[in-house]
Amino acid sequence: MSGVSFRRRAVNAVMLGLMGLCTLLAVGVLLFILGFLFVKGASSLNWAFLTKLPKPVGESGGGMANAILGSFKVLALATAIGFPIGFLAGVYLSEYGHGPFPAVVRYVTDLLNGVPSIVMGVFAYTLVVLPMKHFSAIAGGLALGVMMIPIAVRSTEEFLRGVPRDLREAAMALGSRKWRSIASVVVPTAAQGILTAVMLDLARVAGETAPLLFTSFNNRFWSPGWNQPTATLPVMIFTYAISPYDDWHRQAWAAGFLLLASIFAINIAARFLVSRGFSHSH
């Protein structure tokens, strides 16, 4: 009797220990990645990296100023395409979303969310690059923009649904039209949540590389306007990491550090916003 009990207690202790070990491993990997990237990346970062154009192939020095700007351009374009569609569709689902058609929209949105990023690149390629016959920031922005839509839809819907019914009814009772109550009462109430979601959405696509490889492609010079091949940080990291040059490896680390630091900064800021939002409303 006591033997069985001992065995059970031992199994219990071992299994619980293993569970803790798994968590330690998962968190340990994260800390290692962060630490390694910080040490290696921060030491590789310098002023030239941020302000200079890439040097010709094989020469050391130079920087990625064009890729930093390029990333901003492509992401701005992606937000301009993805956010309005996603936000408005989210309003549709939350405020008019009963019946079979909204259910179809929700299903298709989930489907779109599951499309691998590389396939999104192929889509933007066939849609923009093939007819225009050259790579461009527009194609890259479109690929990332479409990727942003599903999360924008779902989070807008979720946050709008969180707005209490009383507020809508109060607005209606004051004689406002439905669109007026949505625009001036419902959306502003949920604005902070939606803003957070868009930040996270942006952070998610900011590091995407695969859909940009053959849409915005790459460029070793500035790319004025929106209609030219454009360098971006993620693509530069890829190109430099698989190159045979040591100085390019150093710059890949610097770019990786810069990219990850920005993404984490957005994530943490968003988390902070959400927790403040909740303490306000309760």
């Binding site: 998962a26 298709v108 949105t109 066939t126």
Partner: protein
């Protein structure tokens, strides 16, 4: 009075509706509705266009090879001979290896975070693990090339060869870039998904079950394994399928460590290739229409595969949350 109603019913309903819409437009309600409806329809149009574009732009190879595209073993752009089997093989093998490594670790962590850790610690650790999911693929690739592959070469592979070297899986020379390296990188990348979704599912299991089991004298582990796990089973399978879909479509990190060689080898230590990796590498090199169509058809295959797996995952997660709500 009677005449009045008759007139009203005789009036054509279309004019009625047109007038209603007109009035609605003046007040803004109809206009607002049209705008949001258009956006919702835009999503459906975009997704439809995505499928159609993949379909149209792969017509040449679909007609030339038919279904044999899926089991052709040769990929030779020079002689315009395209078969996808080496890539499908690489994709399946690396994803399977990733699941094999990631599921126990992910599940263990999820159980710890949901069942053992105090809520505050659990929330903090979950936030950290979810940050891991925010790390871009290309950065995993960077770390894979310069840190993980040398580490595997120096420590893990010699140990594997010494213990399991007799298996055909671990024969041959290890060149660093390999199916094995890709599987390990993928495993690290999908752990956060398994942890985050499984933890959510476990937390949704009602506390009565735990209290009941503990009151009957079960240990903490027995409670978790025999009572909590079975009620969360479907949702956990869902999280695993979700992670699988991620792994199948993952591109950059795999491309950087798999070696990019379209061969089929039994040994995990040999280089390979995946569907996503070949699209990433060869798209800009593809000069002929036929070559481009072959690559787009690979995209179509990948699309079909991930949609299928995602569908299964969603179904599983949905049914669990319904059961939990009951």
């Amino acid at each position: 009075m009677a005449v009045d109603t008759q007139v009203a019913t005789v009036r054509p309903p279309l004019a009625y509706r047109a007038r209603g819409i007109l009035r609605g437009l003046q007040t803004g309600d109809e206009a607002a509705y049209l705008i949001v409806l258009t956006s919702a329809m835009a999503i459906i149009v975009l997704t439809g266009l995505l499928v159609l574009e993949l379909f149209w732009n792969s017509s040449l190879t679909r007609h030339a090879f038919g279904w044999s595209f899926l089991w052709g073993r040769t990929w030779d752009p020079v002689f315009q001979k395209f078969g996808a089997l080496p890539f499908i093989y690489g994709t399946v093998v690396t994803s399977a290896l990733a699941l094999l490594l990631a599921v126990p670790i992910g599940l263990g962590s999820a159980l710890f975070l949901a069942e053992l850790a105090p809520r505050r610690l659990s929330d903090a650790l979950t936030f950290l693990v979810e940050l891991l999911a925010a790390v871009p693929s290309v950065i995993y690739g960077l770390l894979g090339v310069f840190v993980l592959v040398p580490f595997l070469e120096a420590w893990v592979v010699p140990a594997l060869k010494a213990t399991l070297g007799f298996l055909p899986l671990f024969q041959g020379r290890f060149e660093g870039v390999s199916l094995f390296s890709a599987g390990v990188v993928l495993a690290i990348m999908i752990v956060p998904f398994i942890v985050s979704v499984s933890r959510g599912v476990l937390l949704a299991v009602p506390n009565d079950i735990r209290e009941g089991a503990l009151a009957l004298g079960a240990t903490r582990w027995e409670t978790t394994w025999r009572f909590v796990m079975p009620s969360a089973r479907k949702g956990i399978f869902g999280s695993i399928f979700l992670a699988l879909a991620r792994a199948l479509g993952e591109t950059m990190a795999v491309t950087m460590v798999i070696g990019n060689t379209p061969t089929i080898s039994t040994s995990l230590l040999a280089p390979g290739y995946t569907i996503a990796a070949v699209i990433a590498n060869e798209f800009t090199e593809a000069t002929s229409d036929f070559y481009i169509h072959a690559l787009v058809e690979l995209g179509l295959v990948l699309f079909g595969l991930t949609i299928l797996i995602n569908g299964v995952a969603r179904l599983l997660i949905l049914t669990t949350s319904r059961e939990a709500a009951r």
